[in-house]
Each structure stands twice: as C-alpha cells, then as structure tokens.
Point group: C4
Chain length 277, copies 4
C-alpha cells in the first residue's frame, strides 16, 4: 500500500481510513462490498462479450456498466482526495490498476471495443489478499515469491536463451519449409511455430510437411525436452531452498557453533547445552 | 470408514461385519465379489456407450444393467440397515458414492442419457485399497498425500493466480483477435483458449490468426513456461520433505522419547542427554 | 546376460565365448559386426516402409531382408547351440528379443504386414552398452534405474489414480458432449480424449464444442496441471536421493559415530580423528 | 575468447585491443556499435522475409543487406588480420559464427533462399554477455551450465533411450494404423508422430484413427508421462547440487586450505585441525 499516513483534516482522515485500511468495521465493510462490486463488474463484462447474452439485453448491460464505471470513478477520486500524497498513490501499482479499471469505459466513447479492457479490473481483486487477512496464504505466497525472485536472474537468462534458440530454429525451419509450406510463409511465422513447439503447446495450426522440415522439428522437440526441464529445475531448487531456510540455520548453539537445529530444539544436537530461545 | 461399531443385535452385527470389514473369510469374499461386480458393471456401461456394440444387444445390456442396479441397491440398503448410524454413513464419502452408483439408473427413467453417470461406480473401486490390504501401497500413498496436503495451500494460491492470469490474458487476446477471428467470438471462449495454452495442452481448435494475436500468444507461452514450473517445484519440494522425514525420525531419545533427530545428532534436541549411536 | 558358463566341449566353449562375451578380439569383432548388421537391418525396414523408396527396388529389399533374416537366424541357432542352458537363454530377455527379431520374417509368409515388427530388432542394440563397455554410462544408468525402481510403486499408484481419473472425466464429458459432438460418440473415445488432455499432448483431433463441455475441459486441464507435477516430483526426489546416497553416509567415524563425510574426507568432520579408509 | 595475445606490431595490437577486448573506451564503443548493427541486421532479415514488407521495398532491403554484409566482412577480415593466430580464431566458436554471419550473403548469389541463414547472426549477440560485463548473469549461467554439464551423460543416455522408444512405438503404431490411416503411410512418419506425442507437443497433424491405434497411443501417452519426468528430475537434482556447492564451500581450513566443508563441520575433513566457526 503506497498510501501515506493521513493528514490532520479529520474528515479526509476518516475517509482514508475507511477506503485504504480494513481495520475498522466500516473499512472492512467497504472493502468487502468493493470486492463484490469488482467481481460482479468483471462477470458483467465477460457475459456481455457473448452476443447471445448481450444482444437481447443491450440496454440492461449499458446501464449496468455505467453504474459500475461511475461507482469506481467516484471511488478512484475519493482515493485521490483522501490520500495525503495523491501523485504517489496514482503512480503506485494499485493506483494504476484502479485507473485502468475505469478509463476504458470513457475511451470506449472514442475507440469502440476497448471497453473490454475493463476486465483488467480483475487485477483489483488482488486487494482481496489484504482484506481477507489470509496470513498463512501470504506466508505461502512469500515463499513462492522468494523462490521466483531468487530464480529471477536464472529465468531471465533462460528466456533470453530460449528466444535466441527459437530465432535460430525458426529461421532454419523457414529455409527448409517456406517453398513447400504456406504455413511457413515468413520467418516471424516460423518463430511463432518454434515457440509453439518448444513450449510443447503444439497447436498444429502451423506444422512442417516436408521430410527435412519434420526431421528438424523432431530434433527441436527432443532437445526442447531437455530445455523444458531447466525452468522447473530452477524453481524447484530455489523453492527447496526457500522452504528449507526457515527450518535450517535458524538456531545457533553458542557453545559449539552447531547451526542446524529445527525450530523445536531445546538443546544443542551436538554438545547438548541448553539453547537460548 | 465412517461406519460406527455395530449395536448388540447379533444378526445386524454379523451383516455389518461382513459388509463393512474384510477381516473374516466371508467378509473378504464379499468384498472381492463386490469389486468384481463393480468392475464388470463399469465395463458394461463403457461398452454399452459404443453403438456398434449396444445396438445388436440392446435387450442383453438392459437386463445386465438392471441386474447390477438391483444388486447394488440391495447392497446399499443392507449397508444402511446394518450400520448403527445410517445417516452418518449415508453422508460419508463412500455413502454418497454408493448412492450415486445406483441413482442414475432410476433417474434414467425420467432423464434419458444420465444413466451413463453410473460409470462413476468406478469410484467405489477405491475400496480396493482397503480390501487388498496393500499396506506398502498405502504407505506410498500416504507420502504422496502428505506431499499434496502440504502443498495444498500453495497450489490453491497458484491456481487462483493462474485463473487470474488466464482471465487477463484471455481478455487481452480477445480484444486483439475477436474482429478478425471467429474462434475468439467472446471472452469465455478466449479464456478457454488461454487455459488450453497455458497448460500446454494446445488443441489448436482455437488459435490466434492476427499478427498481434500471435505475438501476445507467444509471450503467454514463454511466460507459461516459467509458470508450469511452479506446481512441479512445489510438489517436488514437499515430496522431498515428506520422503526425508522418515530419515530424520530415525533416532529416538531413550530419556524423553523425543523422536525428530537428524542423522548427525549426538544429543537429544529436547532433554540434551547423549543419544546412543 | 543369462548365459550359463560353457560346458567342457572346447568347440562349443570357443563359440560361446565369441558370441556371448566380448573379452576376446574375435568376440569383440563379432559384437561390433553384429551391432552394425542390426543397425542396417533396422534402417532397411524403416526405408522399406516408404513406398517411394520400396516400389522401385522391391527385389533389392526382399533380398536384403532375407539376407539379414538368415544371418540372424543362424546367429540365434548358434546361441542356442553354444550356450549350456539353451532354455534359460531362450526365455531370457535377450533370448526373447533375438527370437522376435527373426520370427516376423517367417510370420510374414502367413500374415502380411507383420514383418515390419522386425524393427523391434532395434531392441537388440541394447547389447551395445555391454560391447562399448561404457562403464560410466552404465554408472549413470544404474542411478537412473535406481531412481525409477525406487519410484516404481509410487508411479504404479499414480498411474492407477490417473486411469481412474480419466475414466471418470471421460464419462462426465461424454455425458455433456455426446449429443452435440460426434467426436464424443462413445465413452472409450471420451476416455481417449481425457488421456490426450491430461497428459497435455492435446492433438485436438477430439475437442469439446459445447459450453459445459469446454468448462469441464478447462477444469480438467487446470487440475491436470497439478497432476502432471506428481511424477516429476517423484522421480526428482528419488533421483536426488539416488545421487545423494553415494555422497552422504558413506564413511562413518568410529570415534564419535558422525556419519556424513564426503568421499575425500581423511579426518572426521566432527571430532577430527583419522578416518580409516 | 580464443584470441591470442597481440604481437609487438603496434597498429595491429591497437586494432586487436579495440576489436577483441572492451576494456578501453574505444573498444567498448566498438562492441556496443557492433551489437546494435547485429541486432538491426537480424531484424532486417526477419522483416525482409515478410512479403508484405519486402515487396514494396525490395531495393531498400537489398541495399541495407549489402551494407551489413560489407561491414561484417570488413570486421571479419580485421579480426583475422589483427589476431596473432588467425587460424586458431577462424576455427574458434566465435570465429565460425562470424564467418557464418556473412557467408550466406555471398552464397545467395549461387543458391537463392540460403541468405536467410544470415539470421544465424543472432548467435553473435552472445558476445553481449562479455560486453555488458553481466558478471552476476555469468555467475548464474555458470551454475546452469555446470548443472547441464553434470547431467550431460545422463541426458545423452536418456535421449538415446527415448530414440529407441519412439522407434519401437512408431513401428508398432505403424503396423496397427498404416492400412486405415494415410497419416501413417510409412515408419518415418510414424516415428515423427511418436516424437510429437512423447514430447507432449501433440500437433494433431498426425493422429491415430483406429481403435487399436488409439489404445496404443493412450499407453504411449501415459508412459510418456513418467518419461517426461526424467530429464526434469536430472536437471533439478544436478541444479540442486550445483546450487548447494557454494554453500558447502563456505568454510575454508586455514591449515591446509581444504575448502569443501559442509556448514556443520567442526574439524577439517582433510587435516583434522579445528575449524574456526
């Protein structure tokens, strides 16, 4: 939450406390209602995209959508007004998400079709984690995030490599296929195919038809086999560490310096002296 | 088994012992016969669904099916009658499964087509594990389950995230594709595509055709690469732990009976006395 | 090698030594030539299956195939004759494989098309590992096999569960789809689809078209996500153990009973006394 | 860098320093400009392959391509001239890559279509890692490579096995399908299918249609399930080790300099002296 502590003005403070925190009954109620509204508005947008559902109720959906938009706009302005450093909030992750969740409705007036982007409102549901105070979930999340953050560099490196690989593979298969196979009309298309293949998604909307093309594809798939193992290996190892850490090394014996005690240890595993909690 | 101990009435007690336990020759025979009947009835239903097989033998299959249904109904009633707390059994997992495995046959009389749900009888085969007393298998199972249970929260968290991701991705690709590509006629369809893609199933029944659509899809696939690594990482780590634990439990303190010492412990973690190697 | 030690008769002994062992120059030469013959015969069969290649050279391929068949038949008989316990060899893994690699050629005379099964000759190449004396590879292999053997039960259990799952899922989707979608004409077909889906192969030759069908499919895919993680987790954990074992626990200190020394340790990590090699 | 230290001649030395190292402002500038040129040339080639983009600007692309080709040719010759052992550079990895990145342009004059292979220039971007001095990235890379190198043998072994498996599976399914299904016209095609299946890519361009064929395919997929777990298991375990090692290396013996002690070591594994915590 990048919201700054409230300034003296009592009314703004009260509003801020209600909107940004959920430690008061009212604040909590506000958040719960908000989450429901977000969920409903997302559902509306999804249903609205289905012609069979929208066409019979165009009016209904228009009204509904504008109700949500107005409510969220008011909320957004309220947030801007009540928080002490509006700019800082506006530029914070949630600030941007809150804006994105109302903007498309107005954009729609100029660029039709964009209003579906309002479905990005779903991102606002991330507030849920804070509201529902799912401590343990956050605990788990932190482990997962720790693991992902720790693997960040490795994964960047890995993705860079993969991009290089698909670029080369795509080009080679393009050279082998493009005369016989309209699916490989150009290199970007071939790269798209290489990505679809190496990730083992394999739509089959683009597939090699010549013998050399299929041979190359086979090699790509078999090597991709080893490649797909890498990110898993990375995340698993980091995860193993992230999960291992709290357990190991937590307590250190002042007598003998022995380090590996699990959380419930009372005495040093090695020299037997009492551990200080 | 949520079945309560039998009440004094000897006949019900004997029946209960036969039906619910398999510690007596008769009880064991009962269970084995039951398992075979279940297997056969499931096979019948599967074969019956193949027109080439059913049409020539409609009568035969009808008779067979009703025989199974009657037998299982009798068995169900017998269970209800013999167990001391019928309601508790009826609401237990196996109680519900037992009901489901006969109900569709009767429902069929009102709603055609539903009787295939009787194939859910296969769930009853889970009793097998108890009957065959596959201790070691149960041992393994308990490790797997322990690992899965331990990862429960992480996986919930992960699935929630994935659902959020496919929602956002689906919407974005919908906005990019829906005008050019009838496959992306509406957001639910686009979400279905996103799920098919991120799980690397990739049927190809729905696939992007526009350039921006394919670019977005490529990004989704490459990121999905890292995402698919997470559940594997979770289960593996938990499994590593679950399998590691028995190792840790190996040493037991004769003083205080504390059991969780790693292989290198020299003193009891709890009371500090020297452990005998 | 299930071959028994040779009996006194010198000629049979010499032949046995040549055919079954590769510790003599002749024996080694025999094995190398054999491997090349096997490789070539497999290649021949594969090429022969391509009409463009066979049709112009039917005679050539017929002759070639019979040459290989005769050679391998002679070899098989030689093995039977030279080994002391022919039956034991005939029933051994390699004995069966050797038979299978010649039988189809004769079967062909009665059942056309079966002779392609001669490609199973490729299995004979497994002898390669013995011939090439790839000690280190066998080392690695033993680790892999140890890991797989250790996971055997878990994987059996896992596959049983998966089969149960696809049975249930297939049936449910069949009930949802079979009226609207000819791809789901019967349950076996639906089970085939469920397997294609849960393994993330996703050909797309069978795919749901109704809304409930797609919803169900989405759930199946997302859960399959967690499921596919299990075997990986199993193998990884076991592999980690199999690889860890030689390292850990190998040396034990007789003074203090400390167990975890790596292979090059000269002194006990804990009490510092000299370890006996 | 397989470039040898420069010989006395000052001009060649200066040039060598600029081209091969990036420790001087000029040398660094040279590398950065080079990387940009490579990136642009690759982009050009990719865009050029798109008819909609090329056809209107054939001349433009021709000119651009030749500019890049000339520049890279000059650079290549400069490298050859400035380095002390030209042959050694020419045969080094980067030497070959540098050649490949210009050759196709000239080959094109004789064999149309080949010039797209210039996209292999992307490989030259690997120099980036050296230029950008991404120490930590190289650190990560070294861990990944260490893990992959360590798994090298296991993976070779694994791929050999997989190739054997797809050969057998392909043949079996060919025998079951080839009469009914033109997709399985010959064994190579069937092997291609087996590879597409076992890697879970599953294009669906080739798929079984007969009942026995689908049964066999189902078995292949379910077993492939366990198979796909192996490489992941290998890489993960090796990665776990490779990542673990730095931890183990943490303690160093001041007596004998032995470095590999795990965190719990109290005495040097090598000389037995007490380690200072």
């Amino acid at each position: 939450m990048s919201a700054a502590p409230p300034d003296p003005s009592p009314r703004r403070e009260r509003l801020w406390r209600i909107i940004f925190l959920s430690d008061t009954p009212v604040g909590r109620a506000f958040d719960v209602v908000l989450l429901w509204l977000i969920g409903l508005s997302v559902l509306t947008i999804i249903l609205e995209s289905v012609d069979e559902i929208r066409l019979p109720n165009v009016r209904f959906f228009n009204v509904l959508e504008w109700i949500f938009t107005v409510l969220f706009t008011v909320e957004y302005l309220a947030r801007l007004w009540s928080v002490r450093r509006p700019l800082r909030y506006a530029l914070s992750f949630f600030g941007v998400v809150d804006l994105i969740s109302v903007l498309p409705a107005y954009l729609e007036l100029f660029i039709p079709g964009t209003h579906y982007l309002m479905a990005l409102r779903v991102l606002r549901l991330m507030r849920m984690f804070r509201v529902l105070k799912m401590a343990e979930y956050l605990g788990e999340a932190s482990i997962l995030l720790a693991a992902l953050r720790a693997s960040r560099r490795k994964i960047t490196l890995f993705l860079t490599t993969v991009i290089g690989i698909v670029l080369v593979e795509g080009t080679v298969v393009y050279v082998l296929e493009h005369e016989a196979n309209p699916d490989f009309a150009n290199i970007p298309q071939a790269i798209y195919w290489a990505i679809v293949t190496i990730t083992t998604v394999g739509y089959g909307d683009v597939a090699p038809i010549t013998v050399p093309g299929k041979m190359m594809a086979s090699i790509i798939m078999l090597t991709g086999f080893a490649i797909i193992a890498v990110p898993t290996g990375i995340v698993t190892s980091e995860l193993g560490r992230a999960m291992g850490r709290p357990l190991a090394h937590r307590r250190r014996c002042n007598e003998c310096g022995w380090e590996d005690h699990d959380t419930r240890a009372l005495h040093c595993q090695h020299c037997g002296v009492k551990l200080d909690a």
